[in-house]
């Protein structure tokens, strides 16, 4: 049956967000004159309950079978209004939205021009709405398992939550141990808990959980498929140590010819390790790894008369024949918790990080004060002449944060507090130290933060408002040139140690994850969430969720909270066991298909295949779409010479009228 299209047009004021710039009355009146428009209304907030009720009632009372909502971006409220249609008994795909907020009222000032544009956008939406087709989304089974990429605190927490809910988790960590950044920290602000003490049990839990399969020293190599049905390939890098045999005794590391000669990443290079190493004592798994880029045997093929580690290992676990291994599995959801890198302070040469050993980063400071660190927790530094215990210590905040010149406009959110914490620790360990903090603003917005900041200041730490312009060496001291902006006094401060409160940055290899999972970046280059307010753990790729600092700088409690949120989101498809397949997928008109296979070549998802059909007695090949694999991108259709493959809801015959409407010929 062919229904006559009866279109209802709903123009939203969005308070004054739209109404201030677009004459919503005029747009409504205009809409009334468009073909097949039965009713046009405007309302303060279409997305509100009463707004939606208006639509639902009109559907029922006026027999509407198409709805156009002219409001915000469809990326915002398309699901909302689709649901409203559905609740009123209408196919949810009978909705078309005109974006008159983000792409009209908010970006244009001229009321007349904005109103005219809004009218055209509504006309285009109506012209498409008339031709929309009812679609039914199908459901397919979801794989009851998840992949978590990154085993820092975010990844560990999320993995534990999902595993505790009874689902299999593949936890993939790039480095040889889980733990991530949090493991590098000494104490946590503002409570001064021992970071390792609270983290280590979780690391162990994650390693031992029956539902968690841990891949350390591994990287995700390939992801295909879609929510509920991702195919994952993980590369388990060769450790050259048989982890089933390695007992973690450490005999090998002691014997390694390079022992104590390679900067240890975990200690931010402050400590040294050998070519076979355990990143840190509490590492999980407590299994040794051979650094293939350093190991003499692996790089030169020769290590004295023979690798000493092999001799030393009582379990015979060293295996130089080991190769990378590719492991494949299927998961229903993917959680990204790849963390952050810290700002590289050499990008601010005025601070002399590259020149002076006693200019260090906050993270290096963490290792320096850590009892498990290279100095056993003693704050000892080399001032270029000798090892000393610094007495004059300066912290500089906002290094690489809130700084356009280095491309980071954002606040890293943790530096103020970690600086306060480190200042406190310094004061604790070196009571006679004079500690200054150079800051521009102090942000102490979290629970207990302001109190902690207050406490630190009362401990005698001086906060000087100023942005140091230069650090140079004078004798065995470092001189900080700075203007105290509160008193407008230029200062030169002589210190033994400068700690740069470096900010947080996206992982330098984030690109790989972006390409792997089709993620986007926000302007700060962190991974982009689906919506900044309402879908902060979702991404544009269904079934892929974000947790922790990969999405943006945050402290530990926020990271854990987000991880738990992301885990809960990932659990939805897992727990339901089903996922809805978008109905807006491509469809083939077999009667006109030439079977040329262009679409087959084009489809990035291998969702199209050629099948043989009987066309009036002739066996011919035509394209056929696997709807579960098709993502509805429509690239096939633009490459089809006979227009035989068309994405539903974005068909040529639905787009051409939009073009006509916007061109002015409707």
């Amino acid at each position: 049956m062919t229904e006559k299209p009866k279109v209802g047009v709903y123009v939203c004021h969005c308070g004054i967000n739209i109404a201030a710039t677009v004459d919503v009355e005029a747009v409504t009146e205009y809409a009334k004159g468009l073909p097949n428009v039965v009713i046009a209304r405007n309302y303060a907030y279409m997305c509100s309950d009463p707004g939606q009720l208006l639509i639902k009632e009109d559907i029922k009372e006026k027999g509407l079978n198409r709805v156009v909502v002219a409001s915000c971006s469809p990326r915002m409220h398309e699901p909302t209004f689709r649901k409203a249609l559905q609740e009123a008994g209408l196919n949810p795909y009978f909705l078309e939205m005109a974006n008159i907020r983000e792409q009209c009222s908010w970006v244009h000032e001229d009321r007349e021009a904005a109103t005219e544009k809004a009218k055209q956008l509504v006309a285009a939406a109506v012209s498409k709405a008339r031709l929309l087709e009812p679609l039914t989304s199908r459901e397919v089974d979801a794989e009851p398992s998840a992949l978590v990429i990154g085993a820092g605190i975010a990844g560990i927490q999320a993995a534990l939550d999902i595993a505790d809910a009874g689902f299999k988790v593949y936890l993939v960590e790039k480095s040889p141990s889980v733990g991530g950044r949090m493991a590098q920290l000494d104490k946590t602000f503002p409570t001064l808990d021992c970071s390792a003490c609270i983290l280590t049990p979780k690391m162990v839990d994650a390693a031992n959980h029956p539902n968690i399969e841990l891949f350390t020293y591994s990287e995700v190599e390939e992801v295909s498929g879609y929510i509920g049905n991702f195919e994952v390939k993980v590369r388990k890098k060769a450790r050259y140590v048989d982890v089933s045999k390695c007992t973690g005794c450490g005999a090998c590391a002691k014997e390694c010819r390079l022992a104590g000669r390679i900067p240890n990443e975990f200690d931010e290079g402050l400590g040294k390790r050998g070519a076979i190493y355990l990143p840190f004592p509490q590492a999980v798994p407590a299994k040794y790894t051979i650094d293939p880029e350093k190991c003499l045997f692996l790089t030169r093929g020769k290590c004295g008369k023979g690798p000493k580690c092999v001799e030393a290992c009582p379990a015979g676990a060293i295996d130089f024949e080991q190769e990378d291994e590719i492991v494949s599995f299927r998961v229903g959801a993917i959680l990204v918790a790849t963390g952050f890198d810290v700002f590289d302070p050499t990008k601010k040469p005025e601070y002399g990080y590259a020149d002076y050993p006693n200019v260090i980063t906050g993270l290096e400071m963490e290792r320096l004060v850590s009892a498990s660190g290279p100095t056993g927790g003693n704050i000892v530094i080399h001032n270029g002449e000798e090892e000393i215990v610094p007495k004059d210590i300066a912290f500089i905040q906002c290094v690489g944060s809130r700084d356009k010149s280095v491309g980071n406009e954002y606040c890293s959110r943790v530096c103020c507090m970690y600086t306060a914490k480190q200042a406190h620790l310094v004061k604790d360990k070196i009571p006679d130290a004079r500690v200054r903090v150079y800051y521009m603003d102090v942000r102490a917005f979290g629970k207990g933060f302001e109190e902690f900041y207050d406490r630190v200041r009362r401990e005698g730490i001086r906060y000087v408002r100023g942005n140091p312009s230069e650090i140079f060496r004078r004798g065995n001291k470092l001189v900080i040139k700075v203007e105290d902006t509160l008193t407008a006094t230029p200062l030169e401060d002589e210190v033994d140690l400068v700690v740069l409160a470096v900010g947080l940055e996206p992982r330098r290899d984030a690109r790989k994850i972006i390409e792997l999972l089709r993620l986007s970046q926000s302007p700060d280059r962190f991974f982009l969430e689906a919506h900044p307010k309402l879908r902060p753990v979702d991404t544009a790729t269904d079934g892929v969720y974000l947790a922790g600092c990969c999405q943006g700088p945050k402290d530990i409690p926020d990271t854990v909270a987000q991880a738990k949120g992301a885990a809960a989101s990932a659990l939805i498809p897992l727990a339901r066991g089903k996922v809805a397949i978008d109905a807006q997928v491509a469809e083939v008109n077999e009667a006109t298909c030439r079977g040329c296979g262009f679409c087959v070549s084009i489809c990035p998802y291998s969702a199209i295949e050629l099948v043989t059909v009987n066309r009036m007695g002739h066996m011919v090949e035509v394209a056929r779409v696997n709807e579960a694999l098709c993502k509805g991108c429509g690239s096939c259709s633009a490459g089809c010479l006979s227009d035989s493959i068309q994405p539903r809801s974005f068909r040529d015959r639905q787009i051409l009228p939009q073009i006509a409407a916007l061109g002015g010929t409707r």
């Binding site: 006109t592 262009f598 007695g617 006979s642």
Partner: protein, 326 residues
């Protein structure tokens, strides 16, 4: 060209049980005309010719022949079709294979190395068409015309068809059997037609094509003759959606020609048939060759050289040109 050898080969092919017919050429009914010729039995080969007038690309018939509904209980005729191809024509066969427009098992390709074809319209100005069909042969690099009983040597430069002047592949690039010795490819001429337009300013180009497209009769001969325009249901005939209105006017004609040219981009094998058949004399070759040139020069791609190749518009290289993108 040894016609006897060709006829012998053809006779051998059409005598086979699994062959439906062989498509070749025969003398036309008057003047310089030559007609595509469907030979079903060995007796038919007597009229088969291959001369400088055999300019038409027979590959179009591989897809032009209608597939009628097969009555219930009957089997479709799946016998092979044999086809004579010149160099350019053979590229059409390859391109058809790339896009699965034909089934390799159902075609027998007889390759004819091509010394170059004549554009009879150039000849007719000097030697008008006669009621009786004229004969032409190759003689050295030139052409020999038998006109009103007289043998006239026509210098190559005087009558060589434009597409042949530009030809890069005079020898067939695919064939099951070849008749004749491969010809020595010649240096393709500079494409002065395309060059002339490229040298114009944008308004001049517009004025040029406006005149050309305005005279289009929309007879669709350019589309129908093209061996690579073979959709059974061409989008330009379709009414829902309507890409091009049926009305004849400059705007619709232009949309038609742009769509046609675009659909052939990366597929056109430059056989020049579209331009040859156009009753309005629209230089369609200049349209297609421009895109072919872009594809060749900027993407290093030439269609129809490899039956296993990839379809140009259904593939990409990460390093494809993108200097035009903001």
């Amino acid at each position: 060209m040894d016609l006897n050898k060709l006829r012998e080969t053809a006779a051998g092919i059409v005598s086979r049980e699994d062959v439906k017919y062989l498509i070749g050429w025969r003398r036309g009914t008057f003047g310089y005309r030559v007609s595509p010729y469907f030979i079903e039995d060995a007796a038919g080969v007597e009229e088969l010719i291959f001369s400088p007038l055999c300019i038409s690309n027979l590959a179009t018939y591989l897809t032009l022949v209608e597939r009628l509904p097969v009555p219930r209980g009957q089997q479709p005729d799946e016998r092979k079709v044999a086809l004579l191809v010149k160099g350019c024509d053979s590229r059409a066969v390859n391109q058809l294979l790339v896009e699965k427009g034909i089934n390799r098992d159902r075609v027998i390709v007889v390759g004819l190395p091509c010394p170059g074809m004549v554009d009879w319209k150039l000849l007719a100005e000097k030697y008008p068409e006669t009621e009786a069909p004229v004969e032409m042969r190759w003689q050295g690099d030139d052409f020999l015309l038998v006109h009103n009983g007289q043998e006239i040597v026509v210098p190559r430069a005087e009558a060589l068809a434009e597409k042949c002047r530009l030809c890069r592949h005079p020898n067939p690039v695919i064939s099951d059997a070849t008749v004749g010795e491969p010809v020595q490819p010649w240096e393709p001429a500079e494409d002065s037609g395309v060059g002339e337009i490229e040298a114009k300013s944008a308004p001049e180009r517009w004025a040029y094509w406006e005149e050309q497209f305005s005279k289009c009769l929309r007879c669709y001969s350019c589309r129908n003759v093209c061996p690579l325009c073979y959709c059974e249901d061409c989008i330009l005939d379709r009414l829902n959606p309507t890409w091009v209105n049926r009305a004849f006017n400059f705007s619709e004609n232009t949309a038609f020609h742009l769509a046609r040219a675009f659909h052939l981009a990366g597929r056109c094998i430059e056989c020049g048939e579209c331009e040859r058949v156009c009753p309005a004399g629209i230089p369609l070759g200049r349209l297609n060759r421009k895109l072919a040139k872009t594809v060749r020069e900027e993407y290093g791609f030439e269609p129809g050289l490899d039956a296993e190749g990839e379809p140009f518009q259904a593939s990409y290289r990460p390093e494809d040109p993108e200097e035009f993108i903001l």
